[in-house]
Symmetry: C2
Subunit: 486 residues, 2 copies
């Protein structure tokens, strides 16, 4: 199974339940990340940890705006060609999770070819980059959480990068920013808003268009469905039919108890929705991150080693997912990372409002329409705030992106794996000569930004190679532009 | 004399005294603007006044951020071709003054040829667009003034324009934003930050590069000096020599009293600096706004009708400036618009930090170096805030602009009159094919955005014609791009 222990690219992925706002779902339960004993110390001798005195509020001049907090970032000097040769800087933009000491990744793989300085910057309010002195204080309420948003985060990144370039006398070193998922959106947005800081951006699996109804709400689940259908048409049908079967059993006398038993749940089910949610999550998790897992689940469902009725088949899929007979449903609860859960929820309850839902019967799931009203109600209850569903498109754009960016902006790679359900909200067509979409038919979420391994398939190696070539092209052009100006 | 009663383009210009932060200087004393009796009513029947429920703080999600205030804007429907034909929208971005009912201007001149909707949006904290219910409350202290800055203002403009396009079903209507001076910077920045809202920008006399030491501090006064030298080499020399002459007289017994008498001051001078500041301001005012006035002043100085010694000549220049023998020095005090003075000072004390000063002896003035230390001290004293002199370039860029924007962004006209001292901080060379500098040798500050008149010289008419042609080109290309997408 593919491991996700590349911590600074840890893809916490956000599932969307109709009418509820809960549910960051960390893949860390599937493949534990090893927390570094002390993040302020260096474990990797090439990488140094720093803290930047960051401004709390870049966009106002209230007395409180000037408050500072410590933002963590890491620098790997090993491959850098130095300021004198204006050697490039590759900057990883942190996203919605702690950024632990970086180990190996896409950048390290390629740093030598770029002679690049590697910089990794943690996102405000995550990990050690927390204002107000502690998470307890920072997460307290809307008055302290209010400064957590993407606009402030981008301004943080600009401040760190400008500071670094100045202090290394590397003003002419071109910076390329990169990130995946939410971090990929940040990378693309950073290039659009701070072109004077970054010459280009690699935005991996960034669902930039899953806002403000640009993308149909069903699109995410349509891809999940397509993935399973592709793995096995019969498997798809069994899953599709399983929901009503679960409902049927649940409605019978002792039905919930029977379901609890048949699915080996860790505790007696109180409602069938617990089971259905659990199943839905393992399907979308597999589709998003791990297509071989989709195949294994379907193999088990089709194989019927636990029995050939629908529910036994589905349970077989669960066992394949877990790769064991361990108890179910409860397991899901542990996957929610307690430490980041609330704080990314805050982002979802304010600006990161992605209307993902299920309507009609195009998917293999039961309908679960997105309801902004219920979503807002939950946010009001949890945080006392109302979501601003139109703000992201007001600030960053998104509608008519092809028209708008055809003659504006440059040097962004939008990479997507088409098996990733989030690819449905990604940029899948070139917007211009240098705003380029790189899609792989077989890819899943953010694969290209993970460290290369010998087991990688050719198409993935090829995708990474293309990305590196394009980025080399940006840098070459940048140097030529400098020379032309002098 | 050229009149400046075009209220929404009223160029309040900001002079820079070394070590002090005071001095917005409104030209309104030279040519009174007639305040509209009630700005909520329509005097011009083609123009309607509206108020938009604006968000106080776009960039945070603090409970207070969601506070609303009324932002005033005007719409002129007279020339508009309508939403069905995707007819364009010309939007004037308000700057650091009240925006009164628009009368005639560049837009109206050309609205028919564009079939354009004309929109005029007042800048937050000015005129009737004031948060917290009243100017008294809004201007109270840093806790209420803190939301006054260019980033919030741009987001305001985006919100109004998006709202307008939606409510008029004019989503496909291309928007071109325009403004002069600070408003010109806003227009250029708006196109760079909100390309999805505006297809282009006309930035007239926008000193975008007068930040963070991109432009030498002397540049402004070098242009003033050049203007006077061009008008008359002897006049330039008289002015240049006058300062030490004033110092000499002032240092004598009864010298100040003698100066007061010779310059017909409205009150007895307490120090010679009062007189010197007054003189400096009439010179730079004339150079910035009114070159014929420079010529008249020099004619009087050279003509020596009040006597041929230096001080009599200089007084002759003052009389020519006033076009009368009215008392001097005090007059300057009245030119400071009480209503906008403090609030733009706030902007200068936070982000709009332009290091303009005089060093060495390249100018016709005495040295007056820019001192960030003194500037900051004054801001601390006046508002309790410290300036952020690097923020504008961090957020908008500015350093290496030619390199950065060569391959990023499009559709901005940077227009400048080279006699305008602020042109020294403007973009005077094309950055790319569609980021175009249009300079006129004889132009002064923001002339192109004023209403055309029969007395306009050919080069000014020609400049406006070029601007209109370029803007028509943007719109044509935009329509072609839409067609190509469909």
């Amino acid at each position: 199974m593919k491991k996700f222990n590349n911590v600074h690219l840890l893809f916490i992925f956000f599932l969307y339940f109709s009418g509820t706002t809960h549910s960051l779902f960390s893949p860390s339960s599937k493949s534990k990340t090893t927390a570094h004993p002390s993040a302020t110390l260096t474990s990797n001798e090439d990488v140094k940890t720093y803290f930047f005195k960051q401004t709390l509020d870049h966009f106002n001049h209230l007395p409180k705006s000037y408050t500072k907090f410590k933002q963590r970032y890491y620098v790997n000097f090993k491959y850098w060609g130095g300021a004198n040769s204006s050697a490039p800087i590759l900057a990883y933009l942190g996203a919605e999770s702690e950024m632990e000491m970086p180990d190996e990744d896409f950048g390290t793989d390629n740093a030598a070819s770029f002679k690049a300085l590697l910089v990794y910057i943690e996102h405000r309010y995550y990990g050690k980059s927390v204002p107000f002195g502690s998470k307890e204080k920072a997460y307290k309420n809307a008055n302290t959480l209010g400064y957590l948003n993407s606009e402030q985060a981008l301004a943080d990144y600009a401040a760190v990068l400008i500071y670094l370039k100045n202090s290394l006398h590397a003003q002419e070193s071109p910076v390329i920013v990169m990130g995946a998922s939410y971090g990929g959106m940040l990378a693309a947005w950073f290039r659009l808003k701070y072109p004077h800081v970054a010459v280009g951006a690699l935005a991996s699996s960034a669902p930039l268009l899953y806002f403000d109804n640009i993308t149909p709400q069903n699109a995410y689940y349509d891809v999940v469905t397509r993935d399973f259908k592709e793995a096995s048409e019969t498997c798809y049908k069994f899953i599709r039919n399983s929901w009503s079967e679960i409902d049927k059993v649940a409605s019978q006398r002792n039905g919930l108890s029977s379901l609890s038993q048949r699915f080996n749940t860790c505790y007696p089910l109180e409602q069938s929705d617990e089971l259905k949610e659990f199943l839905r999550i393992i399907y979308i998790y597999s589709a998003q991150f791990d297509y071989p897992l989709v195949r294994n689940i379907c193999k088990a469902i089709d194989g019927a080693s636990f029995g050939s009725d629908v529910l036994s088949r589905i349970y077989g899929g669960v066992v394949a997912y877990h790769e064991s007979n361990k108890c179910t449903v409860n397991a899901y609860k542990y996957t929610v990372a307690a430490d980041t859960f609330n704080v990314y929820e805050w982002q979802r309850c304010t600006e990161i409002v992605m209307p993902i839902g299920i309507t009609g019967n195009s998917t293999m799931f039961q309908p679960m329409p997105f309801s902004l009203k219920n979503y807002a109600k939950k946010c009001k209850k949890d945080f006392g705030v109302s979501p601003r569903p139109h703000w992201i498109t007001a600030y960053y754009g998104g509608h008519n992106m092809k028209l708008v960016l055809r003659r504006f902006g440059s040097n962004i790679i939008f990479s997507n794996g088409l098996r990733d359900p989030y690819s449905s909200g990604g940029v899948l067509k070139n917007l211009s000569d240098s705003l380029v979409a790189l899609s792989t038919v077989k890819g899943t979420h953010g694969m290209d930004l993970m460290a290369a391994s010998e087991s990688d398939q050719d198409w993935l190696t090829e995708q990474r190679k293309k990305e590196v070539e394009i980025m080399h092209g940006w840098i070459k052009q940048y140097y030529a532009d400098i020379d032309a100006l002098e």
